[in-house]
């Protein structure tokens, strides 16, 4: 049944295109005259400023700090939020949480072993802290790629507070610069600000089902 539907749909397409036989046409050339880069190296201070501007515009909370101060900055942000119990992926650098007065629950993952946190546990924590794979300055986007420092997708979805540490070298100019740095077969989540909706009178309101608070610690230099 399914097989015949497959053949029939493919057949219909060939008929519709007026194609006989199996020979596929060559891909037609695509004019790619748009900008494929903002012309600045990852981590360029101009890109960092742009990223911060765009993040703030979409209501993310942003803290900038030098490499040595990540732990202190994270600790201060978590304290300001009143967070006591924080979820973290297995590959989170220990230094990021070193200064924070919080209980950390780590999401285990094969093949390193360890229990994966249940949805109920994730729903009960005060927040989650992760890294990211790449950030896009022009659109204020941070991409999570399910690597050990980002964690699996549920981890950054269920908690209501998400703190992401972005390192300067991860910040690229535009979307075309981000894609080659990502592995397509990994689950990817592109995050641009906290969850939001424009469904009521097309007015944007932040905070629906995804984390209602997005905090970014940008590590410069």
């Amino acid at each position: 049944m399914t097989t015949s539907a497959r053949d029939e749909v493919l057949d219909r397409i060939r008929t519709a295109l007026g194609r006989s036989g199996a020979a596929a046409p060559e891909p037609s050339p695509v004019p790619r005259e748009y900008r494929t880069s903002l012309g600045r190296a990852p981590g360029d201070p101009v890109l960092l400023d742009l990223l911060v501007d765009r993040l703030v515009d979409y209501k993310a909370e942003v803290h900038r700090c030098p490499p040595g101060a990540v732990g202190a900055t994270v600790a201060a942000a978590l304290a300001a939020h009143g967070a006591r119990r924080i979820a973290a992926p297995a590959g989170l650098p220990a230094a990021w949480l070193a200064g924070a007065d919080v209980e950390t629950v780590t999401d285990g993952a094969a093949p390193d072993g360890g229990e994966a946190l249940s949805v109920a546990t994730l729903d009960a924590v005060d927040g989650v802290l992760t890294g990211c794979a790449v950030a896009v300055a022009q659109t204020g986007t941070i991409v999570l790629d399910s690597s050990p420092v980002c964690g699996r997708r549920a981890l950054t979805l269920v908690p209501d507070y998400h703190l992401i540490v972005v390192e300067a070298a991860q910040v690229v100019g535009s979307v075309p610069e981000a894609l080659p740095r990502l592995d397509a077969v990994r689950p990817l989540t592109w995050v641009s600000g906290p969850s939001a909706t424009s469904d009521i009178e097309l007015d944007r309101v932040e905070g629906v089902h995804g984390p209602r608070t997005l905090v970014v610690v940008l590590v410069e230099g």
Partner: protein, 524 residues
């Protein structure tokens, strides 16, 4: 046997009432226009979104180049559709997903229903699924089909939820509750949302929070999710869903089983092509530089293994039962018309709706289709088929046949479309197709030529000869007797449709041609 206009042999969509409304466009529009609250809501919402879109599109100095690339990529997809679909299938399957093919709505619904049933056990059947907003599942009437089988489909997008709670139908492809204002939404929540706070205000933030609270438990307990897809990458097998609220992430991440229903046209050949579409879509649809969340997954997704990343598969991440249903339902019939197939390039951004002066005033319900607005006016007739004036046309005319005429051809949709779909030209083409088939049907004995047809033929006969034309002008000048103070307040049908709201000008005492002959007649 229903006779539809289209390529013989390529069937149109299943009739499920989602594409063909009850009333013709003029009749439905008249009702909508009488609703002043609706017009206010629409006017406010569309002007808000137009301004937002204009601002973020204006930020990119390469917007036209992006549009050109988007159009070219989509044209390439259509030309290589069979190969790209097979490639997609291979890649999805290789990563642990399953691919199903559906010739029409009924077949797609059956496939989904079987999958939902298979996700449960006899002791513990699945009785509800969570849904991410999807045009394809609306088109096939999936919620109704599941309901008939005793399975509740819970819409989780805020606007879809509003529509579902009030037992309404969507009126916009991006913001299905655009016809409702905040006060009406508050009332819908108060009337239909269990356990809602009676002190609910009409502040959008408060309303959004109410939806969050209402859906939270459902999300965390859901076993099966159904979604659509914005893009599918043939080269990698990757699916992408673009959203704002996080309800999409919930559905795509938490349940064990995910079923994605996708039109066969939604493909992109390569991973790189996303660099074009992830710029075009958010700016065109919600007027944002980027939408809050975009999820991408391939097959039954796995994290990357090892503590430092790398290419080896790690732990499962998200639904480990993934099914992709590829849907035809009239798409191949659309593809068969070279002058109409561009309608399949649509990425459902809704920019054309927001700039359309007709849509802005009538709203989406007047179109009688899940696809309203300019794109609906060209896509619906091709997916669902037009009747012409055939003997089996519904009494009072087929509503779908009136859609290509639901436009003043102002061209605003073409300018706004991120993939440069020439909607005005397609409307003109579909009008011709409609008239030509109707004319062929009229040749069947017993069907008289329409009055319009007779008038058009007569006018054409006059217009191709200057002698006849100037005689006709003289006849027109007789109309001066109808005029008072240089204007005519009432004309006989069908021109009475003009004079119900507009005066007609009185013909001049002397035509241009007469003046030219009198003053410069010796010069050619």
């Amino acid at each position: 046997m229903t006779t539809f206009l289209g390529m013989p042999g390529l069937p149109v969509a299943t009739e499920r009432g989602t594409l063909r409304g009850a009333d013709t466009f003029p009749v439905a529009a008249r009702k909508a226009l009488a609703d002043t609250q609706l017009r206010k809501n629409l006017g406010h919402a569309t002007s808000t979104i137009r301004a937002k879109r204009a601002r973020v599109v204006g930020e990119l100095d390469d917007w036209e180049e992006l549009r050109a690339a988007g159009a070219a990529i989509k044209a390439d997809v259509m030309a290589r559709l069979p190969e790209l679909l097979v490639q997609l299938e291979e890649n999805v399957t290789a990563r642990g997903g399953h691919v199903h093919w559906a010739r029409d709505a009924d077949e797609a619904n059956r496939i989904v229903l079987d999958l939902v049933r298979a996700a449960g056990t006899p002791d513990d059947p699945v009785t509800s699924v969570v849904k991410v907003k999807s045009m394809a599942t609306q088109e096939i009437g999936l919620n109704e089909a599941l309901a008939e089988a005793g399975i509740a489909a819970v819409e989780t997008d805020l606007a879809e939820l509003i529509v579902q709670l009030s037992d309404d139908t969507p009126s916009h492809i991006l913001v299905p509750a655009i016809h409702r204002n905040r006060a009406e939404i508050r009332q819908i929540f108060l009337d239909h949302m269990p356990d809602v706070d009676p002190g609910l205000t009409d502040e959008p933030r408060v309303l959004a929070m109410a939806a969050r609270a209402y859906l939270r438990r459902t999300f965390l307990a859901a076993r099966v999710a159904v979604s659509g897809a914005n893009f599918a990458i043939a080269e990698t097998g990757t699916l992408a869903v673009v959203e704002s609220e996080g309800n999409g992430r919930m559905c795509l991440t938490l349940p064990q089983t995910l079923v994605t229903v996708m039109g066969i046209e939604k493909l992109l050949p390569t991973w790189r092509d996303l660099e074009v579409f992830l710029q075009l879509l958010p700016r065109s649809s919600t007027g944002e530089r980027m939408n809050p969340y975009t999820s991408m997954w391939t097959g039954a997704p796995k994290t990357s293994g090892g503590t430092s990343g790398g290419t080896a598969d790690g732990a499962p991440d998200g639904p480990q039962e993934f099914h992709l249903v590829l849907l035809d339902n009239g798409r191949t019939a659309t593809l068969a018309d070279e002058a109409g197939r561009q309608a399949l390039h649509c990425i459902r951004c809704s920019a054309c709706l927001n700039v359309c002066p007709v849509y802005e005033r009538t709203g989406g319900h007047a179109y009688g289709s899940v696809y309203p607005g300019p794109i609906g006016a060209v896509l619906t007739p091709q997916l669902a088929g037009m009747h012409g004036h055939g003997a089996d046309a519904p009494a009072g005319g087929d509503p779908v046949d009136t859609l290509p005429y639901a436009s003043s051809l102002c061209g605003a949709c073409f300018d706004a479309c991120p993939v440069r779909i020439d909607i005005p030209s397609m409307l003109v083409h579909l009008r011709a197709k409609h008239v030509e088939t109707a004319q062929a049907q009229r040749r069947v004995p017993g069907l008289p030529a329409s009055a319009e047809n007779a008038a058009m033929s007569a006018a054409a006969w006059v217009m191709r000869d200057a002698g006849r034309f100037s005689l006709a002008e003289k006849g027109l000048q007789l109309g001066r007797v109808l005029a008072r103070d240089g204007r005519i307040r009432s004309l006989p049908p069908p021109l009475s449709a003009w004079t119900t709201s507009r005066d007609a000008p009185a013909p001049p005492p002397e035509t241009f041609r007469q003046w030219w002959a009198r003053t410069r007649g010796d010069r050619s």
